[in-house]
Amino acid sequence: MALQDLILTLSRFWSERGCLLQQPLDVEVGAGTMHPETFLRVIGPRHWNVAYVQPSRRPADGRFGENPNRLFKHHQFQVILKPSPDAAQRLYLDSLEACGIDPTRHDVRFEEDNWESPTLGAWGIGWQVLLDGLEITQFTYFQQAGGMDLAPISVELTYGLERIAMHLQGVDDVYDLDWAPGVSYREVRHREEVEQSKYAFGQVDLPAGEFGRTHRDLFDRYYRLGEQLLASGLTLPALDHCLKCSHTFNLLDASGSIGVTERAAYILRVRKLAVAIAEAHAEWERSQLSDGGAGAAATGGVDG
């Protein structure tokens, strides 16, 4: 099954089970969790079921296109079910079967792995799903976002698309994957990995220290603008800029431009803005309800 068929299969599977199909966030993020369809939708009482692909940039994982398993940018298939249905695990396993993974032919396990994002003030309880020892999915019951207790509880499924595709296609090198029949992952993405890795690790023709300075400056500008947007009541643009800060910080980190002490301070700053955004969104949710929205499910419940 080609990578794009995997995406189609998962999209169809979840669409048929009541999920709205969203599109990726058009801002650089490290994970699908940062998309407002997750980070903001899990807050408040309104029910919501959604699925989307999220290209996820992890500058520190860039390997110049030379490592068969690590990527500057990988792809997640993200599902949010709110509230989490009783059959969440079963639905997930059905989705694997739909992709051609028969659990009775393998060793499929749910091993404890609680997820936490210090920058988003978010955490959850759950597992990594292992397929013959390979982590293919993070399965999380969200407990908090933006430092707030959540109710009802959402379940988040984050599929690692490249890994699942590699398993399905039986290849050991991600670049050998078929993205589409006859078109390899290498053809689609290799050049991007090389160039983005060079960028992420600061291999740029700039005077010494200039790379770091530029990105610190970018961080500060995004941050100030983010605060300003939030103060102006523009929560979603504020989140965009908060995420830009997060990504810029990741670039600074990967390129070795910041020490550990400073690192913690950056994380704290992003978190502060993210928490303020989450709170503003919670406030907006409350105002919607009191305006007569009555918390009706925007999409239907998900049956087992």
């Binding site: 398993n69 695990q89 009775t104 060793d107 013959d132 109710a151 400073e262």
Partner: protein, 797 residues
């Protein structure tokens, strides 16, 4: 009416519980259910048995009474003398009591109590049907279970407490009493009301293995009638509910598989944790054998093992020579009945492992292109603690400290001291390597390996390799003599220096463990440090009897050396035993002017206790001192080794700085031989009196033994002169404590006779002082060994 007993069977079907919780939950469930049954007066002739597997918490009682026992209680009312007036009529107190109990005064009984005779009401309440109260028992038991981290899952219980967090979501409930379902329900919150969310209602069914249960359809419920039936059906459905069954199967299969490839399980420490965990990761274990390309065997064993054990939960296999082989064993959650499936899983596991090994090899190659020395610059950016600087700063402190400890404290040659200094300077450099970035559990070990690779001598690289150990009380044992080789002395110096620096530094920075909170692991560090001192000869062959102060003093100086004025004041306050310190005294110790000292004390008032000294000056002392903390840790360590609590106190009575842990241990090893002898008990019993009386001797008074003439006092003086040389010698050399305690015990009868025959507080000042002086000498001689008054036999204390 005779009581009928029936079987109770409970299964809480849940999503996968973390493996590390399972042993604890199994014990808790038995404990809590037993307590709740007792509380509800439901008798059980057989104990509560519990079993936990990843997807189920199971409890059963073979014989549980079908009715609660009757409640019989006696409620005590007013005293009889207050219950009736002079005419024998009931008073308001008696009437009120009777009314409250719902009976006539004439129905009240009288009971005798230690306080006199009281009115009482005997009440008897018939027990209810067990079936009708089991729901309450279950609800209370569920609430009782404490998980390391509970989660909210939109659930509620109708016990008046509302939301019901649990370890993992509950998906089914099996609750049978006498083979009939007992009604029970876990409700769901209003906010989660949706078509796929429903209450969990108790029923008579269970579910088998997630993938291999049932006849072709693991989602089919399995109807059960009794525990035996349940256990049997689940075993057929590929679930072993008993951890011991799973563990035995794991052990057997691991051995078999290792034999098949002519190997055996690698004897690694980490594997004991893996052995404990693996049976709780699966409901039905089956082991498969995988193989990785031999080229990866060029990686250090530590990296191979960590990748397999830590990251993939695989067991490494060694060959006949004990060398790591290219095989590994993976415990799967499958029936193990299909060779094709086994081969498929093994093949896939190999690919995952190889990908990780390839990464590790990349780090291994990259890290070795730079010497550890060249990584020290990067440590500047790694913060150890905001008030104690970077890891670079820490390495520099530890290097100086390790050199001093090796030379001054352990009495080693300058060559050894130099090796210790070198090892300490490099010991944190691996924090800046990619390998430790990827495998943090290899810190120290990797530094040692890289030091070896760059040609450092054994005394250096092994000291780095092992410097984190030992940690805590039992786990993470110190390295063996064999493993240390040439590095025994340098390792001890570096390990002690690193830990002393951490403990002293963090305390000074206001980080102290409180109750169960010890986020920086200071307790474990302190215990590690004390363990090295306690076992120094066995660990290193060195006989140094190091006092705690010999370690702490240089560590304190190292921290006080900074420009941080408060840390100077802090250590000045810590140094003083019991008494606090005046502002003037602090000035003397630190050279900081009094006004500034007062400001600093004011600034840190949360850490400082202020008091009025006897002579009228204002004293300051630390509220919580490292010395108290360390003394408590030392006593704890010794008690953990099985030494009697009173004996431990007796040999650790000195100010902490003066205690030599090794001496304390050696005294404790022989002390039990004496504590039961009558001579020793005589001494112990009288010793408090000796100490109290000795205190009467005014400071600075002189006294002359020659005025002692009474036979009992002369005998005591002579006894003391005879005995003390052996005692003094033992205390001096740290050897011969058995003989010393024997001599000390013999002084006991002479002290007894002295107290019987001699009146100490004679009017004649010279005579009195001589007698008091004799008491003081007895005190001094014995105290060097132990404060034996702590060992007074329990009956006479």
């Amino acid at each position: 009416m005779s009581m009928e007993y029936r079987e109770l069977l409970l299964e809480i079907g849940c999503e996968e519980m973390p493996a590390s919780w399972i042993p604890g939950i199994e014990a808790q469930l038995a404990d809590r259910l037993t307590a709740r049954l007792n509380e509800m007066r439901i008798a059980h002739r057989t104990p509560v048995r519990t079993f936990v597997a990843p997807r189920r918490l199971v409890a059963t009682v073979a014989e549980l009474a079908e009715r609660q026992s009757d409640l019989e209680e006696t409620v005590t009312g007013p005293p009889v003398r207050a219950a009736f007036d002079a005419n024998g009529e009931p008073t308001r107190a008696a009437l009120g009591f009777a009314r409250k109990q719902g009976v006539d005064v004439s129905d009240l009984a009288r009971v005798q109590t230690p306080k006199g005779e009281y009115l009482a009401c005997h009440r008897r309440q018939a027990g209810g049907d067990t079936r009708s109260v089991l729901g309450g028992v279950l609800a209370a038991t569920l609430r009782d279970l404490a998980f390391p981290k509970a989660m909210r899952w939109d659930a509620t219980l109708e016990d008046g407490r509302g939301e019901f967090p649990f370890g993992r979501p509950v998906r089914w409930l099996l609750l049978l009493y006498g083979s009939r379902v007992v009604p029970f329900e876990i409700g769901r919150t209003q906010g989660a009301e949706a078509s796929g969310v429903a209450p969990v209602r108790a029923g008579s069914v269970t579910y088998g293995h997630r993938f291999f249960g049932g006849d072709g359809n693991p989602r089919e419920p399995i109807e059960v009638t009794s525990f035996a039936d349940y256990r049997d059906r689940l075993e057929k459905a590929c679930v072993l509910i008993d951890r011991e069954d799973r563990r035995a199967r794991v052990t057997r299969e691991l051995e078999d598989r290792a034999n098949e490839v002519s190997g055996r399980l690698a004897p690694l420490d980490q594997q004991s944790a893996l052995h404990a965990e693996v049976p709780d990761l699966v409901e039905h274990p089956a082991v498969v054998t995988g193989t990785f390309p031999g080229e990866f065997l060029a990686l250090p064993d530590e990296v191979l093992s960590t990748t397999m054990v830590h990251h993939q939960h695989y067991f490494p296999v060694v060959d006949e020579q004990g060398r790591l082989s290219a095989h590994f064993l993976a415990v799967t959650n499958t029936p193990g009945d299909d060779p094709a499936r086994g081969a498929r899983i093994a093949g896939n596991s190999e690919r995952v492992l190889v990908a990780r090994l390839r990464d590790a090899r990349f780090f291994w190659d990259a890290d070795r292109t730079q010497r550890l020395d060249d990584r020290l610059g990067r440590l500047d950016t790694l913060l150890f603690h905001k008030r104690l600087g970077s890891y670079r700063d820490k390495s520099e402190r530890v290097a100086e400290l390790a050199e001093r400890i090796a030379g001054d404290v352990l009495g080693q040659s300058t060559a050894v001291a130099a090796a210790a200094r070198r090892a300490a300077a490099l010991c944190k450099a691996d924090l800046a390597t990619d390998m430790v970035g990827e495998f943090p559990e290899l810190q120290g070990v990797m530094g040692g390996v890289y030091a070896r690779e760059q040609g450092e001598p054994e005394a250096v690289w092994k000291a780095i390799y092992h410097h984190y150990l030992p940690i805590g009380v039992g786990a993470d044992d110190p390295p063996s003599r064999d493993a240390l080789g040439e590095a025994a002395a340098s390792w001890a110096a570096v390990a002690l220096a690193d830990k002393a620096d951490t403990v002293v530094g963090l305390f000074g920075a206001g980080e102290k463990p409180t109750g169960s909170r010890d986020p920086l692991g200071i307790r474990r560090q302190a215990q590690g440090m004390l363990r090295i001192l306690l076992d120094l000869p066995e660990l290193t062959g060195m006989e140094a009897r190091v006092s705690v102060g010999q370690l702490l003093r240089p560590a304190r100086n190292m921290h006080a050396k900074d420009d941080d004025e408060w840390s100077k004041v802090y250590w000045a306050l810590d140094r003083k035993w019991k008494d606090g310190r005046s502002v003037v005294g602090i000035e003397e110790d630190t050279g900081i002017n009094p006004q500034r000292v007062e400001d600093l004390l004011d600034e840190h008032q949360s850490e400082v206790r202020q008091f009025k000294a006897k002579d009228g000056w204002t004293g300051f002392a630390l509220k919580s001192r490292p010395v108290d903390f360390l003394l408590e840790r030392l006593r704890y360590l010794l008690e953990e080794r099985g030494f009697d609590r009173r004996n431990v106190r007796a040999v650790t009575h000195q100010p902490l700085d003066e205690i030599r842990p090794l001496d304390a241990r050696r005294k404790l090893e022989v002390l039990p031989e004496f504590t039961e002898t009558s001579d020793f008990q005589t001494l112990a019993t009288l010793f408090k009196r000796v100490r109290n009386i000795a205190r009467e001797l005014p400071d600075g008074s002189s006294w002359n033994e020659t005025v002692l003439t009474e036979p009992a006092e002369v005998a005591l003086r002579d006894e003391l002169t005879t005995r003390r040389s052996v005692i003094d010698a033992a205390v001096e050399t740290g050897a011969g404590f058995r003989a010393a305690f024997a001599e000390a015990a013999r002084i006991g009868p002479a002290v007894d006779r002295f107290f019987n025959d001699v009146f100490v507080m004679a009017d004649d000042l010279k005579l009195r002082n001589a007698r008091l002086g004799l008491m003081q000498r007895v005190e001094q001689v014995i105290l060097q060994l132990a404060d034996v008054s702590e060992i007074v036999p329990e009956t006479s204390s």
